[in-house]
Amino acid sequence: MSNPLADMDKPDVIFCIGTNMTECHPVAATRLKRALARGAKMIVADPRRIGLAEIADVHLPLRVGSDVSLLLAMAHVIAREGLVDEGFMAQRTAHGEDFLKHVERYTPEWAAEICECDAQDIEKAALLYGGADRGAIYYTVGITEHICGVDNVQSLCNLALLTGNLGREGTGVNPMRGQNNIQGAGDAGALPNNYPGFQTVTDLAHQEKFHKAYGRKVDLEVGMTKVTALDLCGDGIHAMMINGENTLVTDPDRHHCEHALKSLDCLIVIDIFMTETARVADVVFPATAWAETDGVCTNTERRVQRLRAAVPPPGEAKPDWWIVSRLAQRMGWKGFEFESAKEVFNELCSLSSTYAGLDWDRIDRGEYQWPVPEEGHPGTPRLHEERFENGRGIFKMLEYRDPEETLSEDYPIWLTTGRRLPQYHTRTQTGRAAGIDYLLSEETLEVHPDDIARLGLEDGGWAEMSNPRGCLHVKVRATTKSPKGTVFASFAFEDVPVNVLTGGGYDPVTQTAALKACPVALKPVGPPPALGGAPGPQPGLGRL
């Protein structure tokens, strides 16, 4: 996030897009609700009538994957109505003139055709955000998990640059990070293009710095993304070490993924449970879990916080860092003689520009938000206050692109996926916590009542959902939360592996999978055998 969580009670106008915050980041959502109670206005752009939409002033139920068109039209209205922050544009941005020209032709009427929202609502939303003194944008993977994920994010930046809504209290362009330490994994250098602290691997000076630190020269060439690596399993990639990820269930196109992992000569999995992915591994190392591990995590507002062990691990489970460093020693490599999490974290700080002012003891109370460039620096709750990292904020001239797969006669319905409040990810944890199943014990496909009637489905009955990648059976639930023509399911339950269907394309820059827009066909079927239906395996579920 560009701004701290504490800023979330402060905007006049909140613009949430592609974020189901009341379910995915519930405590952050309480801050937005407090801002609303104070009189703030809220725009929510989401295909579904999610919890936030219920309390919004304007809900834009856009068609999945059409965000760029909507955002271009909002920029058009803001420019046309003279709501641009000219001072900010002149002092802090580049290519503003070109951008104003660029958006001239993208009228709300033009966008309405593509994103299937009401042109007047688009206008209304633009006037609200453009008129705000403090306008703040919040987004989640509903923005990034598309073939145009980067374009989506840049479209949001364009809006903020246009209206000067960056670098001040209660403003910003704020991605809400999904996992407890997904920010930290990137900070720590688990990226194919960056060393720790986002230092690019293609830079000779960085190569030199890490050569010195690690005693080995690292390629100047950017590594593969995970997506490419999975594509090349058995054909260039022959060994994988996977830490704490149930790749088989969370990743798109499950059949492809399963095949990929099985074609490796060596798969090493480090995890706390025997997950579906661990079951196909050659070696499984038992890791210590949360509350058994000392360490550090960084939240969505870049706050660096301590994790502390409270109980001993089961049996011989060990911290991840211990496992990986001991394996490195067995490989015969030098420099992996770490004895504590503290030593590991302090080495990270010594090599990272964003953590340079931190160490294990200094983060004890979680006061710092990175960057903390040197000791004594107070941290940076708000980014871009004085200047942008690269000098000026650059407008990007973007065009709308269709998703890689669009609706057809055979696959006339959009499937979109996400999370639900009580369950987390593939339930390796929440599924094993007592009581959580009381709130949510099975997956259902959310379908608009009109679609149910049109397709001959039944509320509470079963449907077969398919596309060329796979097929599965799922229980149907009628709800107007889903718009007509779009259905929703989460990937929390192993018996409804929606990711056998997803995977229609990737963002060309980040290679993030398009998990949010996937054409499918739906037809009624009988209940599964366990519930008195005809025998036969769940289609699409390969046996592991």
Binding site: H25, N180, G215, C266, A291, T298, V344
Partner: protein, 370 residues
């Protein structure tokens, strides 16, 4: 509970605002209540309906103080401090009044002592009863609510026989959470905390965040998951850490007895959450000690093709052997690492160090692309 107000500074016009507290001249910020000023000066005024995160309510009148010029004592939690005010926080008359109030409060409840596992604030009433030596049984009160034993939810105990109608639960749900799942039915002795249509929490707007449990000062509301562990032997120890689920990064205090997690408390001074939690952070902790946890390494048996338990020595050698063979057959670029967005920094850092420092490639990623 958590404090939000800082020390007073000169106001905008450079004038210091002052008042007199128990004979001592003290400074304050505009907008602060008498209670907040007194709290900063460690006056320890008793409260029952007060939660520093919520709008002052003024229901219990336990926090009354004497204000010079006012005929009756005033509730310090709702009254704003004004320049020149002269306030006494502890006099014989006030203490008597507070004692009577506590005696009456106690008379309304079935239990005056509840297990601390009920929740963060559950001991507040009992502590005040001790402080005022108020378990006299002098008054015969009517219990002001009826328990909801029919609510079968596994998280929130609803035992309104112990409710004192402080409305903290109602207010935390509305003001802090914005959910408005609980409300008030009737007034006076007949007050009953309820949900929409008087039904089960599951059928209301409740998200099971547990905030009502944590603010209840009597244990009328209780944390059922923690209470299930109330007989686990040992002292309760608290360890400050961060919730393992989403990226908000809420701070929690994990409660343990000996080697078992017995419950979770929200950290009122957590920088990201300031005392809030959601259902996952509050209640989904017991995967940790789950019997299906891996407790030993496994390797795939060459003969049977099955995974079988192995010692660390054997498993590390086995893994290193396999990796070395891949490097020998296909080169160092044939090895790929995927780090976790759920594990700590040290895990991700060591994964990339393994790939970079060991193999010299950048074939490392994390799970953020899916």
């Amino acid at each position: 509970m958590m404090k939000r107000n800082g020390s007073p500074s000169a106001n905008g016009k450079g004038v210091r605002l002052t008042m007199t507290l128990d004979g001592e001249k003290v400074a304050f910020n505009r907008g602060e209540t008498i209670y907040e000023v007194a709290e900063r000066h460690r006056k320890d005024i008793p409260t029952l309906c007060y939660d520093p995160r919520l709008e002052p309510f003024g229901g219990c009148r336990l926090c009354v103080v004497e204000l010079e010029g006012a005929r009756n004592p005033v509730a310090s939690c709702t009254m704003e401090a004004q320049p020149g005010m002269r306030v006494r926080t502890r006099t014989a008359a006030l203490e008597t009044q507070r004692r009577i109030l506590m005696e009456m409060v106690a008379s309304e409840n079935r239990d005056t002592d509840v297990d601390p596992m009920h929740g963060y604030a559950s001991q507040e009433m009992a502590e005040l009863l001790d402080r005022y030596d108020a378990r006299t049984g002098r008054f015969e009160g009517a219990q002001s609510g009826a328990s909801r034993d029919d609510d079968d939810n596994p998280f929130i105990k609803r035992d309104y026989d112990n409710c004192i109608s402080c409305y903290r639960c109602v207010r935390v749900c509305a003001e802090q959470e914005g959910d408005y799942a609980i409300s008030i039915m009737n007034r006076g002795f007949h007050t009953q905390i309820t949900t929409e249509f008087g039904g089960l929490l599951k059928d209301s707007a409740c998200t099971f965040c547990g905030q009502c449990i944590q603010t209840c000062p009597t244990g009328a509301l209780g944390d059922l998951k923690a209470l299930a562990n109330k007989d686990v032997p040992g002292e309760t120890k608290k360890t400050r850490t961060i919730c393992p689920y989403c990226g908000v990064g809420c701070a929690v205090d994990v409660m343990t007895r000996e080697e078992k997690i017995v419950g979770v408390l929200p950290a009122m001074d957590g920088p990201a959450n300031e005392g809030s939690l959601c259902v996952k952070g509050q209640f989904a902790f017991d995967f940790v000690g789950h019997p299906e946890r891996l407790s030993t390494p496994f390797i795939r048996d060459e003969k049977s093709g099955q995974l079988r338990p192995a010692s660390w020595d054997e498993a590390l050698d086995f893994a290193a052997g396999k990796l070395k063979k891949v490097v020998k057959d296909h080169g160092r670029r044939a090895v790929y690492g995927i780090a976790s967005g759920r594990a700590p920094h040290e895990a991700a850092y060591m994964m990339q160090r393994f790939i970079r420092g060991g193999l010299g490639t950048n074939h490392i990623d994390n799970c953020s692309r899916a």
